[in-house]
């Protein structure tokens, strides 16, 4: 899957090769900056570790949201999905951005006003249940791990490209580095790092877009608008090489900038792509509601001083995210044309962003900077996820349930141990190469959408949602999640279970929340209606503190 250079037709294309000094130095400098920032702003106590002392401005928090969000899935995976399945890949683009509207109007301010540190904190408190706190903490850890698997895949691919070593070692080395600085810094360092990472990510991602559009004679002043003609060129085909200053345009190997007509790239749910309208809608929907249920995203709202800041941090965060998301399709479009030569052969889709820059014959330092940006994207997300997962382990399970008298120092130690454990599990899973980065990450969204999202939605917006309803809903969500994962793994292993085709299509791992989330919400409502109502103090707190009645 991760074989970098062609194979089908027999070209001599070499996009990877051996150790690359320039890109390696850029990556090394970047990592040193991250660690230094982490050290300068390291966590001094648990409040710092969990919520950065609540001292971050909305723009700063927005940058952190953007950086936290722009993972390997955004940086590498989205272009990969569009490169492989054209218009269908846009379901991921709108899914991963549209969810922020839901997050803003339904969650951000209310969560900040509720005033808790972590997602399980909120759930345990709102549904007055230690058991639910533990279960939601476990779900938060599972979601974080599922999310991190794709990130480690991206880190491995980029380390492999830069160091010219085997994928297995790349994952191990890259994973160790991200683990190290998460352990050193904690959330405060991570938040500062995230702001720096955002700048690195976005600059590294955008510069090649200007160069590519200029070089291949499209409107380069605003690449997200300028690449439209390139999309139409793919649809209509380019029969003879376009000329730039009288010289035919080629890729780095001298292959001409030509392509057969490929309307399937841009047309909706094209028969040749094997993707359907239902899948498009299901992916977009699952990703959107999953966004509003991800613990590491929700956790960002605890680090701003006020609810109003939480709202504006979402606005800024989404804007910063969109800068990258407007650009991602451009890589897939140019990748499509530049690799459309049998000599280039089949490329690892997940590395198409970097390959496109290489095929476009961009300066190797710019390509190296791009790869460093991809690593930064994965690092920023992984560190946020590790903090969320570790918080669930030490704060929500150990401190709140097992040993409430534990010292802050011991909590911090446990958070760090939890981080190491998570990193180990993620590394093992990442080495299995289950699917594309974007697809693996989408699975985490569906899990969040079927478990945590309904608890937040109903917990905030309906005082009638009670403990029994939450438990029943969570049980249904966990059952659907387990079923989808089981069918996916069995499918991979070639084992056919009853109704395999039906479940694998309608409850696919990337989008099972399309049916799962509504089922969980319905269960929660029905059970809540017929069981003991929510206690007065919870209703009062919700009405007066959260909704300002």
């Amino acid at each position: 899957m991760f074989i970098p250079m062609l194979a089908t037709a027999g070209g001599v294309t070499q996009l990877e090769g051996s150790f690359k000094l320039g890109p390696a130095l850029i990556l090394l400098s970047t990592l040193i900056i991250f660690v230094m920032v982490g050290l300068l702003f390291r966590a001094k106590d648990t409040t710092d570790f969990y919520s950065a002392g609540r001292r971050i401005s909305p723009v700063g928090a927005g940058m952190a949201i953007g950086s936290n969000w722009m993972s390997a899935a955004s940086f590498l995976g989205m272009a990969a999905l569009m490169y492989g399945s054209g218009y269908h890949g846009l379901a991921f683009v709108i899914g991963w951005t549209g969810g922020y509207v839901l997050l803003l109007v339904l969650m951000a301010g209310q969560i900040r006003r509720y005033g808790k540190y972590t997602a399980p904190d909120f759930i345990g408190d709102r549904f007055y249940s230690k058991g639910l706190r533990v279960f939601s903490a476990i779900m938060a850890i599972i979601i974080s791990i599922a999310y991190c698997v794709g990130q480690f895949g991206g880190i491995g691919l980029m380390f492999k490209w830069i160091l010219g070593i085997d994928y297995v070692w790349s994952v191990v080395i890259g994973g160790s580095v991200v683990l190290l600085y998460t352990l050193i810094s904690g959330m405060l360092g991570v938040t500062k790092n995230m702001q720096i990472q955002y700048v690195i990510i976005i600059i590294s991602f955008v510069i090649p877009l200007f160069i590519l559009t200029y070089k291949f004679d499209y409107f380069w002043l605003l690449p997200p608008m300028g690449y439209g003609t390139a999309v139409s060129d793919i649809v209509n085909g380019i029969p003879v090489p376009l000329l730039h200053n009288g010289i035919p345009l080629t890729n780095v190997f001298g292959n001409e900038f030509v392509i057969m007509p490929a309307p399937e790239y841009a047309m909706p749910w094209d028969p040749g792509s094997g993707k359907s309208f239902f899948q498009f809608i299901a992916i977009a929907f699952s990703l959107m509601i999953g966004t509003a249920g991800l613990p590491h995203v929700l956790q960002r709202f605890y680090v701003v001083p006020k609810a109003n800041d939480a709202r504006w941090s979402v606005v800024w965060g989404l804007f910063f995210i969109c800068i990258l998301y407007w650009g991602a399709p451009i890589y897939s479009v140019f990748g499509k044309i530049l690799s459309n030569n049998p000599e280039v052969g089949s490329l690892a889709k997940d590395a198409i962003v970097v390959y496109t820059a290489q095929l476009g014959d961009l300066n190797s330092l710019i390509v190296g900077f791009l790869a460093a940006g991809a690593v930064s994207a994965a690092f920023s997300t992984v560190s946020g996820l590790f903090v969320a997962g570790a918080s669930s382990f030490s704060h929500d399970i150990y401190f709140k349930v097992i040993n409430p008298n534990t010292s802050p120092k011991r909590q911090l130690l446990l958070a760090r141990l939890g981080t190491v454990l998570m990193a180990g599990i993620v590394t093992v899973l990442a080495l299995q190469n289950f699917a594309l980065i974007g697809e693996l990450v989408a699975a985490a969204f569906s899990i969040a959408a079927c478990t945590l999202f309904p608890l937040f939605l109903l917990g905030i917006w309906w005082s009638g949602a009670n403990r029994a309803g939450a438990i029943a809903g969570l049980a249904v969500g966990m059952f659907i999640t387990a079923m989808s994962i089981t069918y996916f793994i069995c499918g991979k292993a070639g084992i056919m279970l009853p109704a395999h085709e039906f479940i694998s299509y309608y409850f696919q791992l990337w989008y099972f929340a399309i049916f799962g989330a509504p089922l969980v919400i319905a269960t929660n409502i029905i059970v809540s209606k017929f069981t003991k109502p929510t206690p007065l103090e919870i209703k009062k707190f919700l009405a007066t503190e959260v909704h300002a009645h």
Binding site: A7, G11, V12, T97, P261, E264, M267, K306, W462, L536
Partner: protein, 275 residues
């Protein structure tokens, strides 16, 4: 005395003016959001019609004659051109094999005499052997039965040999190109790039012809697309639907967020809400 009912709260049943206005803002934003995202995709679905590419019509006009053995040389050239138009796309490996097989058979038929056919086989045979070696090497790597360095070195060396052999075949095919593909075709230049990569030795050694129905199905699959005026209309160079989904919706999301944040701020000021 307070009762639980005093604090009952639901987004659908606001208890005061502030809550009612807050709900209205949220619902307005969500309705716009829902309609713009999913409404547009549903509209695309309703309006779409399976539309064939011109190549499919051309293919269908000659395929019957080619399979019945009654095709003229020109018809075979047109047939090859149609196959190459699909082979230039991203297609499933199994479908590619079928098309490659048929293309090779027709190319071989179009070479006029036994001397030309012998030249052709002479150039294709070593290339096919090296490709088989490369495929075996890839398989070994997939099974992890060889080390990465060994795989990398081996594949690089084989690829170099393959490209030399391919160039040799390519040079030969260029000399006989007028016999193999339509000379006036708009995409002839691109066809010549793909042609040497799509020829298979086993198509010559194996006399079995592919099934026409299977080939027809493959051609139809890759040459039919869901289109409507929303996909045909160009906006800033984009097919309109592509612009709408990839660019406009993201602008809309940011816009909705800004509107919401301002309106809530305004609401809080109006009702003197402390945060």
């Amino acid at each position: 005395m307070e009762t639980p009912n005093d604090y009952n709260f639901s987004i659908f049943n606001p208890v005061n003016e502030y809550s009612r206005r807050n709900r209205n803002i949220i619902f307005s934003i969500l309705i716009i959001w829902l309609v713009c995202i999913f409404g547009f995709q549903v509209l695309l679905l309703i309006l779409q019609k399976p539309t064939p590419e011109k190549t499919l019509t051309v293919y269908e006009s000659v395929a019957g004659h080619v399979f019945s053995g009654q095709a003229t040389a020109e018809e075979k050239q047109v047939f090859n051109g149609s196959l190459l138009m699909v082979l230039g796309k991203t297609i499933k490996p199994g479908d590619r094999t079928t098309l490659d097989f048929m293309l090779t058979r027709t190319v071989f038929d179009l070479l006029a005499d036994s001397a030309e056919q012998a030249d052709f086989i002479g150039k294709l045979t070593p290339l096919a052997a090296k490709r088989a070696e490369l495929a075996a090497l890839n398989e070994s790597w997939d099974k992890k039965s060889i080390r990465f360095a060994e795989f990398e070195q081996g594949s690089l060396a084989l690829n170099k040999e393959i490209i030399n052999l391919k160039n040799d075949l390519s040079g030969y095919l260029n000399t006989v190109a007028d016999k193999l593909i339509p000379s006036g075709h708009e995409f002839r230049h691109v066809m010549l790039i793909w042609l040497p990569y799509e020829l298979r030795m086993d198509a010559i050694t194996n006399p079995q012809m592919p099934d026409q129905a299977k080939l027809d199905g493959i051609m139809k699959l890759y040459l039919t697309h869901n289109q409507s005026f929303l996909t045909g209309f160009r906006f800033l160079g984009f097919p309109f639907h592509y612009f709408y989904t990839a660019v406009f919706l993201l602008i809309l999301f940011v816009g909705l967020c800004i509107i919401y944040a301002y309106r809530i701020e305004h609401l809080h000021r109006k009702f003197q809400m402390e945060e």
